[in-house]
Each structure stands twice: as structure tokens, then as C-alpha cells.
């Protein structure tokens, strides 16, 4: 039983990471239909920003978070202005162009900072474990779970309650008509893309104590995150949360029953089946387009 609960906690922890990565992607894909394969590289840039800030300025991860968010959001803004905005009517081509961006960013980091893996210390306040019966939970992972939920809440507020969110939803529903009402659609798109990138950067900074930071760390993360977005249903925040939980827990449970790799393969195949039979995801958005 303890093994099961421990594994369930590991799954939840994995889900929280996936959620933060996937949330930015959900906005970028849901709002703009852009398949952003450079998203993993935004995560990687976030991780490296956290490492830079810690190594050279002595800032802890938690203090550095807002800075990391802004730095990666800026990169996202540049990518959107430079590349993505020309491709809004060609969703398949965004796959290729953003993969090109991903290659460039990866090589940039490899050339400037070096290919070796870097380590970032976690915040010392969150050292130690919480032991509940036979279940050992690291404080930092517990923090991540709550933090990711807080990010979802903030994003929900931004999308549904703020003026920017109203504009974004208007543009998603009908770009031309909202432009007639004086909404500058291209600016809304840019900001949404930058916000998504910033979220990815924050996720990257937060996972640095758990993984080693390398230029290629984002590549497989983006596939997983993308699957989460599709499974959850395009344009549905709640769906993304549920899908992240589902994929995280499923991976953890399959890994316990079989082994890590077979578990991942099983989840991938399950997702393929899910996309085949429910391409709109588990919780499709009811908005008319």
C-alpha cells in the first residue's frame, strides 16, 4: 500500500511539472493554433536563466522566478514577432518553423554556455521531507504541486476575468470582427505567445533542482506536454489540468506495474488511441469557431 501511495505521489509530482509546461502550450495552441515545438526550448531557457541568476547573482530559484518569467517571455515575444506571426493560417508549417527555432536556441545555448549538464540548488526553506505514515513526500515537490495549481488559477483569472483575457477570447472566436471593435489582434497574439513562453520558462526554472540542466532537456518534454494539451482538449484549462493529472498518474502507475520505459510506451500508445477516438480531447471547448 505504501509503495502504491508513494508512486501516486510521484505521479502527482510529475503531473505538476507537466501541467506547468503544458499550460503555456495550451494557450499557444488553443488560442492561435500554433504547434510550438520550441516550447521545450523555452523550458530549457528558463532552466538556464535560473542557473545563470543563481551562479552569477546568487539569486535563489524562488526569488529569480519573476525575472526568469520576463526573460523567457521576451524570447517568446521575439520568436512570435520574427517567425510565428507569418504562419497563423498554416498550422502544419508552424511545426517545422518552430522546430527550426528549437534547433537554433539549443545550439545557441550549447555554443555559449556549453553542452555539459548544470546543477541548480533548490531553495533551502523547502529542504526535507514530509512523512505521512509510510509515504515520504519531498517538501519541494509538494510546493510544486500547489504552485502549479496557483499558476492555473492565475491563468484562469487572466483569461476569464481580465480585459486582456476578454480580448484574447474575442480574437480566438473571430479575429476580423474583434479587429472591427478596435482590438489589435496581432498585439493580443504576441502577448499571449509571450505569456505562454514565460510560463514555460518558469516551469523550467522550477524543475532545475529535480533534473540536470542540459541543452537538450526540452525535446522530450515538448512531446509529452503536447500530448497533454491534446488529451485535455484544445482551449480548455480544466481539461489540461485533468489531462496532466491523468498522464502523470498513468505514467507512474504503469511504471510501477512494469518499468519506467514500458510505462512511458504504454502511456504513449494509450494517448494515440485517445487521439484517434476523441481528437477533440476529453474536455472539448464549447466555443463556436
Amino acid at each position: 500500500m505504501d509503495a502504491f501511495l508513494n508512486q501516486a505521489f510521484a505521479g502527482l509530482s510529475m503531473a505538476s511539472i507537466l501541467l506547468m509546461v503544458a499550460l503555456g502550450l495550451a494557450i499557444i495552441y488553443g488560442a492561435m493554433g500554433v504547434i510550438n515545438l520550441a516550447h521545450g526550448e523555452f523550458v530549457m531557457l528558463g532552466a538556464y536563466s535560473a542557473w545563470l541568476l543563481q551562479t552569477y547573482l546568487g539569486l535563489g530559484i524562488l526569488v529569480a522566478l519573476p525575472v526568469v518569467f520576463l526573460m523567457v517571455a521576451l524570447v517568446g515575444l521575439l520568436v512570435e514577432r520574427g517567425v510565428v506571426r507569418w504562419l497563423y493560417h498554416r498550422p502544419l508549417d508552424t511545426i517545422l518553423a518552430t522546430w527550426g527555432v528549437a534547433i537554433l536556441l539549443q545550439q545557441l545555448v550549447r555554443s555559449v554556455i556549453g553542452p555539459e549538464s548544470r546543477y541548480v540548488a533548490g531553495p533551502s526553506i523547502l529542504d526535507g521531507n514530509l512523512v505521512l505514515g509510510g509515504v515520504v513526500m519531498s517538501n519541494y515537490r509538494i510546493f510544486l504541486i500547489f504552485f502549479s495549481l496557483a499558476v492555473v488559477a492565475a491563468t484562469w483569472f487572466l483569461l476569464k476575468r481580465s480585459e486582456f483575457g476578454t480580448k484574447l477570447r474575442a480574437v480566438i472566436q473571430n479575429k476580423e470582427i474583434s479587429e472591427c471593435y478596435g482590438i489589435r489582434a496581432d498585439r493580443v497574439y504576441s502577448l499571449a505567445f509571450a505569456y505562454g513562453a514565460g510560463l514555460a520558462g518558469m516551469a523550467g526554472a522550477l524543475i532545475t533542482p529535480l533534473v540536470s540542466v542540459t541543452p537538450t532537456m526540452g525535446t522530450y518534454l515538448v512531446v509529452d506536454a503536447f500530448l497533454v494539451v491534446i488529451v485535455g482538449g484544445v482551449g480548455s484549462l480544466l481539461g489540461t489540468v485533468a489531462a496532466a493529472g491523468l498522464v502523470g498518474e498513468a505514467t507512474a502507475m504503469f511504471s510501477m506495474l512494469m518499468n519506467d520505459t514500458i510505462g512511458r510506451i504504454a502511456v504513449l500508445l494509450a494517448i494515440i488511441f485517445l487521439i484517434r477516438f476523441k481528437p477533440m480531447g476529453l474536455f472539448p471547448d464549447k466555443v463556436r469557431r
Binding site: 508549417d93 518553423a97 550549447r110 500508445l269
Partner: protein
């Protein structure tokens, strides 16, 4: 005989001359250089295979590396068994290290060369057919096809790395014997070997062209433009899509077999996400609307990679990334599109000049004055 058919024939003939005459002559039949070119040709062949499904049927298959690497592994298994004949039980060395006692059943058939050659195409096709029927019966299109094939690719790669006992894991299959092709010991640094690869590419290209020039090709193009309308005409869209997908997989598997002969090892990087997306970009650079152009794209990009990565190690990756972006933004139809519009443009200029001369001849006075003005 219509014009596009003539263009196809000319393109094919020029391509054949390039492969069979120009390249061997340009490197003056040097074995080492021909080996590198044989590698480019094998990669051009996969790019061509992708153009068949992506360019003609609009199926963006991000997992094109799956059939390619399956073909590669199957050929490598045969060669590995040949190389391990003298070992106890004929067991490949890595199996000995991982405590495998007897040769697993799925390795057994690959003792035989004919079985290997057939399986190298049949296995990728069978798997592709399974996936294609699964996807296309459900009317999965566009982005979702891309995502499913990508997820499938990752799953297959994980599987091959995980099952180290049977596949050599991260190391792949190395230490292969040279192929004995019906009594001919294939030396991969020989001129004959280069011609083997070149002829394979030309034959597969001919098969591809025959397919797209047939009525099937026309229906595929129609599906790419608007699948629903084709369905309303009573065509079984899924069947055509499956056909294109499987033909593409067959050629990719074939190319994979050749690739192993060139490089003498099979590695799980052949089924990596990076490699699979690279195939897509080769195809895009050449131009996905033409099979010859896609094959050329594969050859050109890899040739550039070979040249540039020798000079600047990091620079090449930057160049590749930039190439992705520039091709998508500026020339989504690839080199083929650029050449085509250039040809059309010159054609138009020539025709309008002929027309202009006629107009000047009709209205002599005005025309002459304008020419004079232009002269000054």
C-alpha cells in the same frame, strides 16, 4: 503526352544523368567519396518517400524515421548474424553480455538473405498499414496525423532502446559482416556499390512517379486539396491514403536497408525525433510537390551538412535551424517552387516581349519613340 508529363520525364532523365554519370565522374570514382554520396542518396530516397505521402496526399508523417529504421535494423540483424556465425550458438556478442541463452525466435528468419530483403520492406509496410488503417478509418487528418505519428515514433524508439537484450539498446547493432549478395561480396567503398544504391534510388523513384502519374495520384492530390469532396464523389479516401502511406513506408524501409550497408551499423538515433524531423525538412527544401525535387533536397542538404560541418562544427546546426525557418517562411514550396516560378516568369517575359514587338509593329511611330526613350 501533356506538359507536366514531359517535365517529369526531363526531370527524371536529368536526375539519372546526375546520379549515374556526373557524380561518379566529379569525384573521379574515388571509393571513399562515392561512399559518402551513397549515403546522401539513401537519405534522398527517404525524403522522396515522404514527398509521396506529404506532398501528394497531404499526410504529414513526422514518424517517417520508423519505417526507415525498421528496414535498417532488419538488414543489420542479417549482417550481425553473418558476423556472429563463428560465435557459440551463432549468438551476437551483445546478447552474450546480456545473458541471452538462445537466439530469440524473431532473429531466426534473418539468417536467410531473401527473407531479410523481403522483410526489410514488408515489415515497415505491415506496421504502416496498421497505423494507417487505424488513423485514416477514423478520418484523422492534418495536425492530428502529425501528432500521432510523432508519438508513435517516440514509443518505437523507447522500445528499441529498452529491449537492449534483443536490439543492442543505445549502442545499436555494430560490428556487422559485409553483405553477400548472391555470391557478390558487397564492398561499400566500391563503385559497384554506389551504382547499386543509385539504381535502387532510380527504381524507387520510377515506382513513385508511376504511382503519382496514375489515376491514384490524381485522387491523392484531390484528397490533399479537399478530402470531403473526394468522399462525396464516392472514393474511399482512407484506402487511398493508406496506399500512399504504405508505399512511402516501403521505399523508406528500402532506403533504410541501403543506409545500413553504407554506414555498417544501425543505431537508435535513426528513429530519433531530430532525425525524423530532418527528413521533413529535406523534403521541404527540395519541394514536396515533386518526387525528384524532394530526393534532390535530401541529397543537397546532406551534402551541405557534410561540407559545412567539416569547416564549422557548431555553425552547421545554426545553419540547419535557420534553413527550417527560412524555407517555411520564404519558400514553402522549396527549390522546386522557386525554379518553377522562375521558369514561368521567364516564359511570361518572353511571351510579353513577343507580344510587345507585335504591338510596336502595329503602331510603329509610338513604339519606336518608346524604344528610343528606353535607349537613353
Amino acid at each position: 503526352m501533356n506538359r507536366t508529363f514531359k517535365t517529369d520525364c526531363i526531370g527524371y532523365a536529368l536526375f539519372a544523368i546526375l546520379l549515374l554519370v556526373v557524380i561518379p565522374w566529379a569525384v573521379s570514382f574515388d571509393g571513399f567519396a562515392l561512399n559518402t554520396y551513397a549515403r546522401y542518396l539513401a537519405l534522398g530516397m527517404v525524403a522522396m518517400a515522404l514527398a509521396l505521402s506529404w506532398g501528394y496526399a497531404g499526410i504529414l508523417n513526422l514518424g517517417q524515421a520508423v519505417p526507415f529504421s525498421l528496414g535498417a535494423y532488419i538488414m543489420a540483424m542479417h549482417l550481425k548474424l553473418q558476423a556472429s556465425a563463428h560465435l557459440p550458438g551463432g549468438l551476437p556478442d551483445f546478447m552474450g553480455w546480456t545473458n541471452v541463452e538462445v537466439l530469440p525466435w524473431f532473429w531466426q528468419p534473418f539468417h536467410s538473405l531473401p527473407v531479410t530483403l523481403v522483410a526489410g520492406i514488408a515489415v515497415p509496410v505491415a506496421l504502416a498499414a496498421l497505423l494507417a488503417v487505424f488513423m485514416f478509418r477514423g478520418r484523422i487528418t492534418g495536425v492530428f496525423v502529425a501528432i500521432i505519428t510523432l508519438a508513435f515514433l517516440v514509443a518505437v524508439q523507447l522500445m528499441f532502446i529498452e529491449e537492449q537484450r534483443y536490439t543492442g539498446g543505445q549502442n545499436g547493432l555494430t560490428g556487422l559482416a559485409p553483405l553477400q549478395l548472391f555470391g557478390w561480396r558487397v564492398d561499400n567503398y566500391s563503385t559497384q556499390f554506389y551504382y547499386l544504391v543509385a539504381v535502387c534510388l532510380m527504381v524507387s523513384l520510377a515506382i513513385g512517379l508511376a504511382l503519382v502519374r496514375s489515376k491514384v495520384g490524381l485522387v491523392l492530390k484531390a484528397i490533399r486539396e479537399d478530402a470531403s469532396r473526394v468522399r462525396f464523389f464516392g472514393y474511399d479516401v482512407a484506402r487511398y491514403e493508406t496506399l500512399a502511406f504504405c508505399t512511402s513506408a516501403a521505399i523508406a524501409g528500402w532506403a533504410g536497408m541501403l543506409y545500413v550497408l553504407v554506414l555498417e551499423f544501425a543505431s537508435p538515433t535513426y528513429m530519433g525525433v531530430a532525425f525524423s524531423l530532418a527528413i521533413v525538412i529535406w523534403c521541404a527544401v527540395g519541394g514536396r510537390e515533386s518526387l525528384v525535387a524532394a530526393a534532390l533536397g535530401g541529397i543537397i542538404v546532406n551534402l551541405l551538412e557534410g561540407r559545412l560541418s567539416d569547416m564549422f562544427v557548431d555553425g552547421w546546426t545554426f545553419f540547419l535551424g535557420a534553413l527550417f525557418i527560412v524555407v517555411v517562411l520564404v519558400a514553402p514550396r522549396g527549390l522546386f517552387g522557386l525554379v518553377q516560378s522562375a521558369v514561368r516568369h521567364t516564359g511570361k517575359v518572353l511571351r510579353s516581349e513577343r507580344g510587345g514587338a507585335r504591338a510596336r509593329w502595329l503602331a510603329t511611330g509610338v513604339g519606336t519613340r518608346r524604344i528610343d526613350n528606353g535607349g537613353r
